[in-house]
């Protein structure tokens, strides 16, 4: 697929490319500003998503760096600018999968990972804090029972991606995304009622 090809191209450090002349031009600094602008907008969202995907904090930070460097190369080569946030998530997702298989962490349960754990603090009232802890424990139970694809769908939705964008990032059909999210949210809704 053309888009997949774009992703793999942009994750390599191939310097002798057709866009080399453009990179030397004065536009490079404007592109840098643009990339840093996207970084400011999406860094926290991307980090949260990568932590959800089971990466450690250092690994997630590296993937974020690689992703935005890939974006710089992508823009330098004059490649399509359509829906850059979805492109960024897609590249990060692919890099994360590669990294995860490299370090063989995909067997780990996400909630056992120190990079994705709950912080129940912040409520001064002990009763409220207890209620919050119980609520989070309930939600954690639902979360742990979800298949990984469902978790990633949910995490992307929580970061504001549309259904179409989620489908693009994860390589699923729109229908599969809606089914997955509907099932997951129904489980969370049941947990709320308990």
């Amino acid at each position: 697929m053309a888009e997949d090809q774009t992703i793999s191209d942009t994750t390599g450090v191939t310097l002798a490319s057709a866009g080399l002349a453009d990179a030397v031009s004065a536009g490079a600094s404007a592109l840098e500003e643009e990339v840093v602008g996207w970084f400011d907008e999406l860094q926290a969202k991307l980090m949260r998503y990568l932590l959800t995907a089971g990466l450690s904090v250092p690994d997630a930070e590296e993937i974020v760096q690689e992703t935005f460097l890939a974006l710089f190369k992508h823009l330098t080569r004059g490649k399509p600018r359509h829906n850059i946030p979805a492109w960024i998530f897609r590249v990060a997702h692919n890099l994360a999968l590669r990294r995860r298989s490299l370090v063989q962490r995909d067997r780990q349960n996400l909630l056992e990972s120190p990079s994705y754990e709950f912080v129940a603090g912040g409520d001064p009232n002990p009763e409220d804090q207890l209620a919050l802890k119980q609520r989070l424990a309930r939600l954690a139970g639902v979360w742990q029972a979800l298949p990984e694809q469902a978790r990633l769908c949910l995490a992307l939705r929580a970061e504001g991606l549309t259904y179409r964008e989620i489908a693009q990032v994860l390589g699923m059909s729109l229908g599969a995304v809606s089914i997955s999210l509907a099932r997951s949210l129904a489980r969370f809704a049941c947990a709320q009622e308990r």
């Binding site: 310097l15 990179a23 970084f39 926290a44 930070e61 995490a155 509907a182 949210l185």
Partner: protein, 268 residues
């Protein structure tokens, strides 16, 4: 009341909320929901569940999101390094195709020398994984280390000119420089202060020198080491001064002791 089979599915309620359905279907769903208390309640519960999950997700993942400013600085450094490298390649390409040989070498040397002045500072906040090859030692990682500052020991011994660095130590050097997966064929792990000048077998005295460095390469540095050894042993140069010069900026030391701005022809 609407019969059960006519209710809108959860999937369709979600898709409608995301404005994905066709205009006609979207209007039909909206009309149904406005009339059906059951679907309205389900829609509300799904929305509340999503809000609940978003809160849960933030609480779980936010502690890992940190140092955005530092991360931004690292990104800018990496982009600058990438741009600089692209420019140097571009200079070589254009020169090679227009003037051939000499002009290309001159342009590339200029870019590398300019880069040598600025890269140590740029790379102070070194990324964990380096996106570009290593061409120069980083003072923070390779300040240089000496085993002896005794001229008699350096000049009197018959030390081998080169000494192999153990593979495990080479790997540590690669990791320190953010190139853990680097091929030993792409880099020579080199002593900053050669053992022939009293340099120590210490990771602080080792750095990965890229074989792709076209001008200021390992052969040029070897020539400098031989020259300094001769100068130290015939008493022209103080050993400590030689060690300091080669450790602080070996290219500047080459220019100083060879009285030239570019590497002289050396025999392979």
């Amino acid at each position: 009341m609407l019969p059960d089979e006519s209710h809108i599915s959860d999937e369709e309620l979600l898709l409608a909320a995301d404005d994905v359905l066709s205009r006609d279907r979207s209007a039909a769903v909206a009309k149904h929901v406005s009339l059906c208390g059951t679907c309205r309640t389900r829609k509300q519960k799904l929305e509340e569940a999503l809000a609940e999950f978003v809160d849960f997700h933030r609480r779980a993942a936010d502690p890992g999101v940190r140092l955005a400013g530092e991360q931004r600085a690292v990104l800018k450094t990496q982009i600058a390094a990438l741009t600089s490298l692209r420019e140097s390649w571009w200079a070589v390409w254009t020169s090679t195709f227009s003037f051939r040989g000499i002009a290309a070498a001159f342009a590339f040397a200029f870019v590398l020398v300019a880069g040598y002045r600025t890269w140590p500072a740029i790379l102070a906040s070194r990324p964990a994984i380096r996106p570009v090859p290593v061409f120069f030692p980083e003072p923070g990682l390779t300040p240089g280390a000496v085993a002896t500052a005794d001229r008699t020991a350096v000049c009197g011994s018959s030390q081998p000119k080169t000494r192999n660095v153990p593979v495990s130590l080479q790997r540590r050097v690669f990791e320190e420089y953010g190139i853990p997966g680097a091929s030993p064929k792409a880099y020579e792990v080199d002593y900053l202060i050669t053992p022939a000048l009293g340099g120590a077998d210490d990771i602080r005295n080792l750095w990965p020198q890229s074989y792709s460095s076209a001008v200021w390469n390992a052969r040029v540095k070897d020539a400098l080491e031989d020259r300094l050894h001769d100068l130290v042993c015939d008493g022209s140069v103080d050993l400590v001064a030689a060690q300091r010069d080669i450790a602080s900026d070996w290219i500047a030391a080459y220019k100083k002791y060879f009285h030239t701005d570019s590497p002289l022809e050396t025999t392979p």
